[in-house]
C-alpha cells in the first residue's frame, strides 16, 4: 500500500527522527513474573511484550513426546486490546504461523536433546503492538529462556530491516511497515551469526537485500547487548537480595 506520507526526508531522517540504521528505543526486564520458570518484559518502540517460559516438563499429551529431544512450543498471542481494531481472542492464522517460525528458531539454540520427552513452553503475549512484534517476541523469548535456566548454545535475538521510499533502513516503525516497500525480519544466534529466522515480503533487488540483511544482523547485535544487560541485572538484583 502506498501513501503520500514521506517516510524519509532529504537528510535521511525518518518520521520519528531516526537515521537509517537506528533502532527504536528498547527496554528489557528479566524475571518479572512469579509463577513462570522464566520471564521477560520488553518494550521496543510502541511494542510491549511479556514472555513466560515453563519447562522443561513432561510433554502432554504423551503422543506429542519426542523420545530423542524436548519439543519447543512457542505460542505467540496478541491481546485483544493490543491493536487499533479489537482482535478476536484466540489464535488466528497469522499468529499460528508466527508461533511456528519462532518455535523452529528457538529449537536451533536450545539443547533440546538434553530433555527427551519434555516440552518447553514459551508463551509470548503481545500487550501493545506497533510493527515488529515477532522480532520483539523472539528477543524477549531469548531472555525468558535464559532466565528459566534453559541450556542454550546462545541467546537468540531478532531485528528487522526493510525498504522505505527506496531507502534501506533498520527496524521499521508503524507507518514504515504500513507504507514501506519491503520488510525483512531476521533472527540470529549472535555468537555465530547463523540465521535462525528469515522472512521477507515486498520487493528488494539483490543488492538491497544484502544491505538490508546486514542492517538487520547489525541490529541484532545491538539488541543482543541489551538482552545480556537485562539478564545480568536480574542476576545481580537476585544475588543482592540474598
Amino acid at each position: 500500500m502506498k501513501s503520500d506520507i514521506e517516510l524519509i526526508d532529504s537528510n535521511g531522517k525518518r518520521l520519528d527522527g531516526r537515521g537509517p540504521e537506528d533502532l527504536r528505543p528498547i527496554k528489557i526486564e528479566a524475571g518479572v513474573l512469579h509463577r513462570a520458570d522464566g520471564s521477560c518484559y520488553l518494550e521496543w518502540g510502541g511494542n510491549k511484550v511479556l514472555v513466560a517460559v515453563y519447562g522443561p516438563r513432561e510433554a502432554i499429551p504423551r503422543h506429542s513426546q519426542n523420545p530423542l529431544r524436548a519439543i519447543v512450543n512457542a505460542k505467540y498471542n496478541m491481546a485483544a486490546f493490543s491493536v487499533e481494531d479489537r482482535k478476536r481472542p484466540g489464535p488466528d492464522r497469522r499468529s499460528r504461523e508466527i508461533s511456528k517460525v519462532i518455535s523452529e528458531a528457538l529449537e536451533k539454540v536450545i539443547l533440546t536433546e538434553q530433555f527427551p520427552r519434555a516440552a518447553i513452553d514459551v508463551n509470548i503475549e503481545v500487550l501493545d503492538a506497533e510493527a515488529g512484534t515477532r522480532c520483539a517476541g523472539l528477543t524477549a523469548a531469548g531472555v525468558a529462556l535464559a532466565d528459566a535456566g534453559i541450556p542454550m548454545t546462545d541467546i537468540p535475538v531478532s531485528c528487522a530491516a526493510g525498504k522505505i521510499d527506496g531507502h534501506v533502513v533498520a527496524d521499521l516503525g508503524k507507518e514504515e511497515d504500513n507504507f514501506g516497500d519491503a520488510d525483512l525480519p531476521v533472527a540470529i544466534s549472535p555468537r555465530t551469526d547463523e540465521v535462525i529466522l528469515l522472512q521477507m515480503d515486498g520487493h528488494l533487488t539483490l543488492d538491497e537485500f544484502n544491505k538490508a540483511f546486514d542492517l538487520a544482523v547489525n541490529g541484532c547485535h545491538v539488541v543482543s547487548e541489551i538482552q545480556k544487560k537485562a539478564i545480568l541485572d536480574k542476576y545481580q538484583s537476585a544475588s543482592e537480595a540474598e
Binding site: L33, N77, A79, A80, E125
Partner: protein, 260 residues
C-alpha cells in the same frame, strides 16, 4: 487432576488452628494491592492490577455497532477472560474452560447488573448505531484470587477509558460515562476458618469460596459461591461483613489511583 500434597494442606490447616496464615496475614486482611492505569497505548482504557503476586491486565476497546433489538437505545458491553498459559503452569491454551467462563461472567455481571457503564448514554443513533464496549481480561500471573484482581482491573480500566469518538468521526473523545462501581471481595473457607483474599495455596485447599460485591452504601450488588464445600448462615454473614469493610478500603485506593 492434581492432588494437592497432603503435607501442604496439613501445614496450612495447622497454622489456621493457631489463628495464622501462611504469609503472616490476618484472616481479614488483603495482600498488597497495586493499580496502574494507562498501560496500553492501543486500548481505550487499560489497567494492570496486582494483588500480591497475582497480576491481571484489563483492556477496554470500543467499536460502533448495532444495538440489541430489545434495547435499541443502549450501548452493548461484553466481557472476555483468557486464562492464557503465561500465567500458570496449569493453564492451557485453547477455547476457554469452565473456570475462565465463570471468571468472565462474574466480572461481567459485576459491571452489568450494577450498571457501572451507563449504557443508555452510549447510543449514537437509536436502533441503528451504538457504542460497543469490550472488556478483555488477561491473567498474567496467577497466585490466587483472580476474581477480585480481574474485577478491580476491569473497573480501573473502565474508569480511565475514553470513548474514541474522534477515530469514528463522531466528535471529540470523552470519558466513558460511569456510575459508582461495586467492589468485589472474595473469601474462602478451609478447616472451618474463613479467610479473605486467598493466595493460591489457600485456594487449592479451600472447601468453599464466596465473592461478595458491595457498593458505597454497603449494599450487596452481587454474590457468587464456588467450590464443592458449603457455608453456614453465620459464615455468610461474616464474609459479607469482611467484604463491606475491605471493599471500602479498596474503593478508596481505586479512587486515589484514578484521581477521583
Amino acid at each position: 487432576m492434581t492432588v494437592v500434597p497432603i503435607i501442604k494442606r496439613d501445614h496450612i490447616c495447622k497454622l489456621a488452628e493457631q489463628g495464622k496464615r501462611v504469609d503472616g496475614r490476618n484472616f481479614g486482611e488483603y495482600r498488597k494491592i497495586e493499580i496502574e492505569t494507562g498501560v496500553v497505548s492501543k486500548a481505550e482504557g487499560s489497567a494492570r492490577v496486582k494483588i500480591g503476586n497475582t497480576q491481571v491486565m484489563a483492556g477496554i476497546k470500543m467499536d460502533v455497532g448495532e444495538p440489541y433489538s430489545d434495547s435499541p437505545d443502549s450501548g452493548v458491553m461484553t466481557t472476555a477472560a483468557e486464562l492464557i498459559p503465561l500465567a500458570s503452569p496449569d493453564f492451557e491454551s485453547g477455547p476457554p474452560r469452565a473456570n475462565a467462563i465463570e471468571l468472565a461472567r462474574v466480572v461481567d455481571r459485576g459491571v452489568r447488573e450494577s450498571e457501572v457503564i451507563e449504557l443508555d448514554k452510549l447510543c449514537i443513533e437509536p436502533g441503528e448505531k451504538v457504542w460497543i464496549v469490550f472488556i478483555d481480561l488477561h491473567i498474567l500471573d496467577y497466585d490466587g484470587n483472580l476474581f477480585d484482581a480481574a474485577s478491580l482491573a476491569a473497573l480501573a480500566a473502565l474508569s480511565t477509558a475514553k470513548v474514541p469518538a474522534k477515530r469514528f468521526e463522531l466528535g471529540d473523545d470523552y470519558p466513558l460515562p460511569l456510575k459508582e462501581p461495586p467492589i468485589s471481595c472474595t473469601s474462602v473457607k478451609f478447616n472451618n476458618v474463613v479467610a479473605i483474599d486467598p493466595s493460591l495455596d489457600e485456594e487449592e485447599i479451600a472447601d468453599a469460596r464466596l465473592t461478595v460485591a458491595t457498593d458505597t452504601n454497603g449494599d450487596i450488588r452481587a454474590m457468587q459461591k464456588g467450590l464443592n464445600g458449603s457455608f453456614t448462615r453465620e459464615e455468610i454473614q461474616k464474609v459479607i461483613k469482611a467484604s463491606i469493610d475491605n471493599g471500602r478500603e479498596i474503593r478508596k485506593q481505586l479512587y486515589e489511583n484514578i484521581g477521583k
